[in-house]
Symmetry: C2
Subunit: 107 residues, 2 copies
């Protein structure tokens, strides 16, 4: 049981570090792809260049994913984000959130 848990944790770690796409693991590379559409408002590296939008770089993946789910289910609304989030799958939300969390928050 312990050995199985260790293997699972190892595979998760590989998925996180290498950004490899795999069911149930976080994929930074997939997150980076999904983030392309976000760059025009939130900046190509998650540092917003427009005053009215937030920077996402370095925010926790948990917080970002919660906001994306809120935009998707309508509990938080925004003219642009409400539309964009509607098309995101659970995996895409996890991956794109992990991608922004991995970026430096320094401007």
């Amino acid at each position: 049981m312990l050995a199985r848990s260790m293997v699972f944790l190892f595979l998760c770690a590989v998925g996180l570090v290498a950004g490899a796409a795999a069911d149930g693991t976080v994929s930074l590379s997939e997150g980076k792809k999904s983030a392309r559409v976000c760059g025009s408002c939130h900046g190509p590296k998650g540092i917003a260049r427009v005053e009215s939008y937030p920077s996402l770089a370095g925010q926790s993946a948990q917080y970002l994913a919660k906001q994306l789910r809120a935009f998707r289910d309508g509990s938080r609304t925004d003219p642009q984000m409400s539309v964009l989030a509607k098309s995101l799958s659970d995996d895409e939300i996890v991956n794109v959130s992990a991608w922004y969390a991995s970026l430096s928050s320094c401007k």
Copy 2:
């Protein structure tokens, strides 16, 4: 008219740099005072230490103020922020937003 505008701009600049409280000007020192209650979730310097909360340091004052007004008017909801924002005046929102915007976003 031009001279009066110059004086107004100068006073605003003094207010911004020195953080002096004055009607209609931004006060970083007042913003810092209001931010005390925010520190337990968003960190004493605006860098959140809890995964479920966002870091505020270095976000634009415009974005932060918009979110605080949204929490205050109910268009954005959160169990804690909806309650906290209810008590904020327009000036307090401007000042506390300017305070967080003035802090370094680097962790």
